[in-house]
Symmetry: C2
Subunit: 452 residues, 2 copies
């Protein structure tokens, strides 16, 4: 452990499973360098989910554009006694020269639909597997969970409080960005604010209250510096805390500009109602109620269904680790090599061969009504094609996308989904995704040829 | 999004919740700079867990030793219109100057026991909260889960395959290290191999098989280059794959040195038995069986309980996201300020005040039999004190610990635990942890004084 145990563009080429490199050496030796097509997709939806929200593409493109093996990485590989000097020399000049087709970030996506398709000489497409999965899986996981929380909050403010319990440092950054794409309003993570320009937000901790002789003097001291802050009222007794705020309003008069109170423990619905009553009784109708503490889309939905007078939510752990489904069934599979379709037949893990396109149909009233997954060269499939070419010959096509534009895209795209898909439970009718007849027929032929 | 969206020692000071910085400005303005003591601990064990294994201390000490606000971080903070020029100047000279007491990494730890105690001027101890929780929570989560997988595997080889579904890039590094501390044998993550010197391992992917005309020719090509490799047999039909390996052994004769086969789908117990029979029938008793695919401590325990002839396990997602408990109930709480004990009374979140020590008692036959949590200055508590001073005046005490030494410590410490704690289910008798009478009495006095 040392200052070098951080991932950066300089060492990212080694953030790969060893077998990618042992296979690369074999491909190199066997001269297997023809064009391979790999699809990155999800096999199924977690329980209660109706769609996923694609994210992670920009990180993937950054990685592919900058993929290099610097000297210290090559030295380490040489030290393993598995790789020939000739192969190490080959890695020294290794670049990603391929093409990438992908769904724009913020696009709703369903099982078996490729989020990203890598078309490149076999070794280049193979090496990228681990890193691309690591980033696209995680960012899609986070955007998908956040989309549910945002929908459950019905337009109330949602703030990301997750940094302390997310899995490591990179997660806190990439998740804050994915949350913002999905409609979360702001983050407590200052570094994410700096790096991505996401609005930052935050209030005060219990330790601030406890460092003062009593709660009321802590409130006063904090409000002197931050007149329009949100005060945390549950350190000792929540309703006593609310009464302290009301007392302060009386004594401060026109100077009182506190924007809200924060409840962080106990029965949030009941405390919100009692707090609202206490505040309103003092004419403090403009003081909002902000809630936090083990919240997720289910509890937020329940609180608002029950009429809890809550104006905003700080959502931490359950969002930040996607608690009800901390992973997705992601895959990165070879679907074509040297111009021929490929498929795996392993139990429950059969893959769809061929380069593909996804077509999404829209009804007359502007709702998405179904997708067709077809081979990329199939003609006359109804619907708008979703996969776009985003990289050619190892270089991004066009400009880097603006984060607010991606967020806007995500918002518009979700507004076209059937409304039933946006609840916290599984919709009684899942979104229809079909495999085109041509592709299905070709698959059966291939399965028969492989003896499956 | 850009090449700058990676966390490094240079920008780690901003990996903090905004409220830490708004509180810091308030502390600065109010001149609240006396010594604070914060405890980092876990409130309870997840279901089925009997202990946690402490990890993350080295990352914490690296962070505290190097905590700085470089110019670009200060510029960003100044741009937020929340911080005064004078406060920004104060941050420019900010250093961590405090003391740290901690459990050595690899020590079993129980609820309410501090893993790390930060003793420093209030602003310094406060700022570190988010980063310390992020790293110590995650690394302890990973070491604790891995310890269960290693115990379930009963001495069989365990390899970390988790990188592709862990949460972001930093997680893959820090988890690989935590797994190694907990007894995992090796990792597929090449970067973790380079950074920490952990043994790396790996076999081949389905795509390698599919890129060849048929499975048998893929096996032969791979074995030419890696004579003692492990061959993946489930791409098309698992038992046919095993027969291919047996055919190869017959035709290769003395040249055949394949070390094992890998099963990655289907009923692993049944396939392992049938594969073992097929291999043994050909005299291939030295060819091992390696299993992977959605494994965790429960399934490994079940397979080995059932007598499955499996020699090693590749464990990925369920370990890498701690699937059955993707977070721990971690906390970082003020327990003393300016020489006086502090506590929070919020519902279900009451904290233990005072600087503490943990005493662990050992029975005559060398088993740990119980812990006492006491105030640090209490005399005559039975057992060995566990918290050690690891940093003074912002500098590490002694040398950086060697990773293999930490792994050895973890192994020895766990061997002293009651055997019932090392199963996959909750022990009928939890490990006894008591709060000393002195501390309990002082707590009640404090609670009364706070009106709780």
């Amino acid at each position: 452990m040392s200052q070098s145990d951080w991932v950066s563009p300089r060492n990212a080429a080694l953030l790969t499973d060893l077998y990618e490199l042992t296979m690369l050496q074999a491909y190199h030796r066997e001269n297997l360098r023809e064009t391979a097509v790999f699809d990155l997709f999800f096999r199924k939806l977690p329980e209660n989910r109706n769609f996923l929200l694609a994210a992670g593409l920009e990180t993937a493109l950054d990685y592919l554009e900058n993929l290099r093996f610097p000297a210290e990485s090559l030295e380490y590989l040489a030290s393993l006694d598995r790789f020939s000097g000739e192969f190490i020399d080959y890695l020294a000049n290794f670049r990603f020269s391929g093409e990438v087709r992908a769904l724009p970030e913020g696009t709703p996506v369903f099982p078996d639909e490729p989020l990203i398709e890598i078309i490149a000489p076999l070794p280049e497409a193979q090496l990228a597997e681990t890193f691309l999965l690591n980033q696209i899986h995680f960012q899609t996981l986070m955007a998908s969970k956040a989309s549910r929380v945002v929908d459950a909050a019905r337009g109330k403010t949602v703030v990301d409080f997750g940094a302390r319990r997310m899995h490591g440092a990179d997660a806190t950054l990439k998740a804050a960005r994915a949350f913002y794409i999905a409609g979360v309003d702001s983050t407590s993570n200052v570094l994410a604010g700096q790096v991505y320009g996401i609005p930052v937000a935050g209030t005060m901790a219990h330790s601030y209250i406890e460092a003062h002789p009593d709660e009321a003097s802590a409130f006063e001291a904090f409000a002197e510096l931050y007149p329009d802050t949100i005060l945390l009222v549950d350190t000792y007794d929540t309703l006593e805390g609310v009464r302290s705020v009301a007392n302060m309003a009386r004594s401060w008069g026109n100077r009182f500009r506190i924007r809200g109170i924060r409840l962080d423990s106990g029965d949030l619905g009941e405390l919100a109602r009692k707090s609202r009553d206490l505040l309103d009784a003092d004419g403090l109708t403009g003081v909002g109620i902000f809630a936090s503490g083990s919240l997720d889309e289910y509890s937020i939905d329940g609180l608002l269904e029950g009429g809890a007078p809550i104006d905003g939510f700080g959502v931490g752990t359950h969002l930040g680790v996607s608690e009800d489904s901390p992973y997705l069934d992601s895959a990165y599979k070879l679907v074509e090599y040297a111009g021929k379709p490929r498929m795996k037949l392993a139990t429950h893990k059969t893959t769809l061969p061929f380069r593909k396109q996804i077509y999404r149909r829209t009804s007359k009233d502007g709702r998405y009504e179904g997708d067709t997954i077809a081979a990329a060269d199939t003609q006359d499939i109804a619907g708008a094609p979703l996969l776009e070419t985003v990289m050619r010959a190892g270089k991004r096509v066009g400009e880097r996308r603006d984060l607010d534009a991606i967020r806007g895209h995500a918002d518009r795209e979700r507004s076209h989904l059937p409304a039933t898909l946006r609840g916290v439970q599984a919709a009684s009718t899942p979104y229809p995704v079909t495999v085109s007849e041509d592709l299905r027929g070709a698959m059966e032929d291939l399965r028969a040829a492989l003896g499956g």
